[in-house]
Symmetry: D2
Subunit: 497 residues, 4 copies
């Protein structure tokens, strides 16, 4: 087993061993479900084993969590903030180990792994301040005054995906905890060590403060546990990150029992490059947005819309930089592109390329579509694929879907109006960006007739989330908003009197 | 036909005739669907005829509305506010006629009818101020600043119920319009004259300002039109007021196409009277909350929870005041209780009483449940029923449901904790109130372990909505919030950059 | 007397006669101080006579006002909002008459006169919405919750200047009234008819609602009344608009008795034109900003900073449009430049030009300063002067001061940094604007090292105030903020518990 | 010298020695002004020597600070927040040593000393969150949108008093720093070691982050340095804590040069005990509020207003608990009352008692005033005095003034109205509290006709500040608001465009 390897020694510092119970239930570690192995996407070799949650583990965990909720919601918010502050400090102390684990188990390059953990730390700091700002209001009315204040919901369920195996937990848990909610977390089935290591850190802080561990309840597991959370009336809010298809099912299940959802679903994000753009800046940004995290971010740039006048120039430069992308072990310095997360992801890439080719082959005749660079997997132990650029028509069916890998569709346009129409023509509505220097173009882009996405960038890539802002998207992306601004209100219920 | 009667002459002032087209489509009146008659609930006689919308009417209306949306969203918000201000002025000029129409067609007493129209006028004033306050933010971040601003959604669908046939439209439309959205309204099938009269007023203002009438598109019609709105991808937000059952269906349909819902569904609202309460104040409030609008408000008090020490005293006084309730024509001065809205409502009342009796008869032996006063219909041309008080156990199944009429369930409790548990034990979560003088009881009631409703009153009835606050409830009530506070954000989409 | 003239007949519609009592005291009109005449600046002929306030008038007015404050502060804010709404409607009905009076007595051109009254109407609408939004907060703390709410101050003193004889009252009074304060107003000594006409309208609304007239107390008068307000401990807040010199004296007097001031003092506003600016747009904006209201706005552009590369082009175009400025009776259609407000203003202009010449004569040799156009008075009955452009060095002493007339200083710069330094080199800090198309220049301009003014415009003139924003400036301009945003907080006191 | 003593060894841990330079100027320690000794108020023995600032030190410090400001204001706010976070961590590491130093040099008891330092730590946490929330706004307007954002002021001057020798610095500096301002601090002349130790900690963090030390510039010194700050045009905002008399002088000086002040001046805080109050709770609260910090808090309860029906009961109980107050070394466990800060303070106490006696002697005959307990100094090396209760009339002149020591004036009232009038009858308006169980009394107390203070407590003492709220008072207390809520806006300038 890989665990014995010298380069895996740091895992011990995170409390991980060759075989790990995968449930933190009522303040103790257990795991009576299937035993699964977790592998390194760079070589598909086992890292360690994890005992997942059984439904009985879930039920006993939730009973304890429900009891803990009664206590936690009565602790004054600034004191809850102090716990979150300590979680932030504990994460800071393990920043590099955790970042390394994220790279190892998820497959993203090390700076991205560390960056993801840093994001949770920043969220903790933010949430500490927020713990003194969960303000209700006293509103003048004909009857003198109407008041409203915010009460905790009780328990918040958080179901996260493999691509951000800990940051999304951080966005939700930091806010949920200061708002007075217990958290029940199901991490992705393929990143259980990250789930366990993160939970260890939170658990350590709770224990040090003599608080019930059940305030933070975590399960490694699959669809069965996810479904249990969706159906559980003890969980008034379920925050789900994943595909649009699964997200809609979760939403229906949760709504049926009068619960609420916070959804972060698929993106299909475009970058528009206008004729007056700073082209070198645009090219660098597209590379970063399309190839970063091997195209497995929700904010990955999947569509590149180029003004006809600079179409060939940008494409040529882009193909040039794609050729220089260093592919390899994400833990190694200099690597820009690591493996896809699983062999199945690689298989999807292969299937996707076939569909593109089939669609492109028809279009080829009509519209001139073709693969300009990449399009193949890389033969190796790991799940590596080539970064790929495809020339295609905006009307090709494949362009409406999210292919989770480093595949970029390039399209040509003549007018801003047309570019915005293409941008808005997909079901998803997460992120988008335009490169231009003209204020009038920028204002059009930001306004009511501009991009219909939640994130509407200018001269920067489609990816990147600011903690103080509210992250999320419209349409098939689910409409949720996480992290900053007034996102916290979703984690509380308003009492008016 | 009733229309010829002298007392109906005021209808002409509202632009109504014996036969009225029921669709305002692309700035013109039409109606190619079924012809229905609208009746006076106080005598079940026809008032007038209305030509409902056909699906073709719907489609041509929505096409025009969609075009109008492109224009309306580009008008600066304060200028949209000016239009809403003029709508308010136009309503002010017709306040008494409109209030009278509400009483006539819906059946609520005249002061309630006028009060409902006044509420829209107040909403207009509020929305005018709001039109200069739809603020985005400039948030400091590591990249210097993140910005977000609010863009219109396009079209907001509003489906309203018979019990507030115009105020709920007002809550939604005033906000939706200043936010830059067109409105498509389907009123209740049994209150078409109100739908038409309200629309006439809005239409008049649009026309006077040379704006497309399609900015406000209205349909008289039934489930078919409601379903069309729910399925229509041109309508990103559907605000629905009605039963929990229908609301859930609407929500699923709208979510399936990635739209959003704003739901105001059933309530099952309790008043708790503590041992130290001001009893005369409590009795008056319960009467007002349980019998007002013939028990057909979403905020009607349906459950009365009495501390055992004052149980009999309050009950005796309450029965006393119930005996004096003046029942009759809602347009007549002095009437406190008008008819139910339709013969079907009266039939539901009869069925409900039968179920209560059957459940009460078992409980009677065990727990002493019984009908203390009322329980029958009143023989007449109209849909009148007796105001009814039922002694019943909180565990009786019938108590969990919303019986839409003047039926009050009375229950006994021993401790505050028990009372709050009973209050929270129903699926609905709209309104609630406690009568007490003790600050510690009040804080418990308002806090995380208190009432789980959206409205948590103290020493006032369960009903009543403040414009500056946000109206709405939790759980099966749907979680929507309308009118004041930051409710407007639901009518816009956030663009972050 | 002018009053008999046919063109003055409209004054009767505003309740004005040949001789008018100038104090509205305890709901009645009186005036036992000096009798003054008010004149038309276009011909210096008398319009009417006004009986100013004596100190006894002041004292009896304030006693009544103080009593009225006890009542007014207890009326719920939305009901106070309803009064302000009615004031807005009453102003709407008299919009053109009032606008005409402003032109007649102050001397600004008719569209500006009407625009000024419209601004108060908009403020009324805004304040109505605000009356439901004077929100306190419920803040989570270690002791569970800290609350704060906002209480009225009692009486707000408003001392206004001749250049905006009614809009500034509107900014202050609309907010002060919905916040629950009585208003005591001293208008400018040279615009008493406007003071009286405005007060008549407010008084009419109060009377119609059976409220004490003393809620709005107004005095025509001079420095003696102003000083009485500044010293009066019954007036916790004094809003003063006028010169920096007098403003500082008022502030010291008010602070000495522990009162607060809201100051809107002198401006010395620059427009910067960068090398990439839209020059025709810039020229039009400078003309509008420098010549509008005969240069007697606090936001008048007094300094024009031109990049050396477009210096001569802009100057030539500007001199060209200055030559075409139509000077004449402000009530006549087509007039762009009316008279200065008083003969003394004209005398100041003459003196100012002399100083400019004397300074310019020295600089002339060194730096090339000179009068390019204008520089003289126009011989006539009225107080007309020529619109004037002066080429001068930024280091000339005269440039640091506010010369209240249509005199524009033009300077040359080489770099943005230099332009910003010149912009910030005067004691005043009200308004400023830059004309450029480069986003990087704009962000520098708006940022910490940019303009130090309260208003930092881009590609629009220096003048103009948005109701939803907060109007005011830094440094010698006094730091006050009026109208929108959270300006209302200055009119209330915060109670924390 | 005391420094050699074993119990002073901890001072070395804070970087203090027997002779300490008292200026942190341009990142280095110096001090070319007078050499002063700092003494322990419990025995008036020297602790250490401090070299105060000369005017030359001030000037060179300010020049460096002004340069540093240009850099600091350009660092993104969240990164400034990170610095403040590190300051918080550094303070946490020294919490007990710093708390002990506060007790030693200022004389307050150890739990109060530690509590004061903890307050800064909490402020740091709060400010970190705030660094992502210094939000500007995008406001809809007729011209599409008005924007405003907040820019740093540059340098904030903070002049603090001996009674909170570090917490008040913390309130100001944490906010000022995240807002992008450099801080120049002058601590109280009698607590220089605290000034130095605090500055050492801040300096250490700046150095570790390779930032100019001049971002935080500190001076030990007296009136000369304070005056220099007040006159310095490089300091746009001066936050001053101290007496009303000096505060007014500072304000005039600062206003004269168009700077702004944030004043926290004298308090004269009353507790009202109603007939229905929880008397044991009230007695404990009064003891805590009147004797804590030896009566040297700005929020100390100085006036006790008792309803006539419980007057004697409360007085008897209060005299009882006063008799048990343990007086002694503030560093010793169990001590409740330490010494006054200086021999001069003790002398003031003696003079104050004489005046009371002289006024009371007249009143005695008329109104029954007398010293009930205490009234003398305690013979010892230190500045100890007896906790004192005085029966006196509300109309005695001495009651309007702040006597900075443990002297409590007791008065009788008959009605709530009378009690509120007495509460409001003094020039100061900082804090106040009422003890009652009646909601109607509470609402009257909080409302427009209630207490005119900034802090309006209910059933808790007059002292205590919540970080999330805004601390400060009205009238002669100066009107400033510090710490939470929107206090930060005072530390920035608003740019509207």
């Amino acid at each position: 087993m890989g665990f014995a390897r010298k380069e895996y020694e740091f895992l011990k510092e995170l409390g991980l061993g060759p075989r790990n119970p995968g449930c933190y239930v009522n303040g103790a570690w257990t795991g009576n479900g299937p035993v699964v192995t977790t592998v390194n996407p760079a070589n598909n070799q086992t890292i360690a084993e994890v005992m997942e949650a059984s439904i009985q583990d879930y039920e006993s965990g939730m009973q304890a969590c429900n009891e803990a909720a009664k206590l936690w919601m009565q602790i004054p918010a600034p004191k809850r903030g102090e716990i979150v502050r300590q979680i932030g400090e504990a994460l800071r102390a393990k920043l590099h180990h955790l970042g390394r684990l994220v790279s190892l188990e998820m497959g993203k390059i090390l700076p991205e792994g560390i960056g993801e953990v840093q994001e949770i730390i920043d969220m903790c700091d933010y949430a500490v301040g927020l713990s003194r700002q969960l303000n209700g209001s006293i509103v003048p009315s004909e009857r003198e005054f109407t008041h409203y204040m915010w009460n905790p919901l009780g328990i918040v369920g958080v179901i996260t995906a493999f691509n951000f195996p800990c940051a999304v937990l951080g966005w939700n848990a930091c806010i949920a905890l200061v708002c007075g909610n217990c958290v029940v977390w199901k991490g992705a089935p393929t990143t259980p060590l990250i789930t366990i290591a993160m939970t260890e850190i939170v658990a350590g802080v709770l224990e040090k403060n003599n608080l019930p561990g059940a305030i933070f309840t975590a399960f490694c597991g699959g669809a069965e546990i996810g479904e249990a959370i969706a159906k559980d009336t003890r969980v008034p809010l379920v925050s789900f990150t994943g595909s649009t298809k699964v997200g809609l099912m979760v939403q229906q299940t949760v709504n049926q029992r009068f619960g609420k959802c916070l959804l972060e679903l698929s993106g299909n994000n475009a970058i528009i490059v206008m004729d007056d753009a700073d082209i070198p800046l645009a090219v660098r940004s597209v590379l970063f947005a399309a190839v970063g995290t091997a195209g497995q971010r929700c904010t990955t740039c999947r569509r590149l819309l180029l003004h006809e006048s600079i179409y060939q120039t940008v494409l040529d430069q882009l193909v040039g930089v794609y050729k220089q992308v260093q592919i390899g072990d994400p833990l190694e310095k200099g690597t820009l592109l690591g493996p896809l997360h699983t062999p199945a992801s690689r298989q999807n890439f292969v299937k996707g390329i076939e569909i593109i080719k089939s669609q492109a082959s028809i279009i080829c005749i009509l519209l001139g579509g073709k693969i300009l660079i990449g399009g193949s997997i890389i033969e190796s132990e790991g799940n590596f694929v080539q970064p790929t650029i495809v020339e295609i028509s905006p009307s090709a069916a494949v362009v409406k879907e999210e292919l989770f890998g480093p595949v970029l569709y390039v399209m040509k346009f003549q007018t801003l109006k047309e570019a915005i129409e293409i941008n808005n023509s997909v079901p998803q509505g997460l992120s988008s960006s335009i490169f231009t220097r003209r204020p009038d173009v920028i204002f059009k882009w930001l306004g009511p007739h501009g991009s219909d996405c939640g994130i509407v960038n200018v001269n920067i890539p489609t990816n990147g989330a600011e903690i103080g802002g509210a992250f999320g998207g419209e349409k098939a992306t689910g409409g949720g908003r996480e992290a900053g601004s007034d996102s916290w209100k979703q984690y509380m219920r308003r009492s008016t009197w």
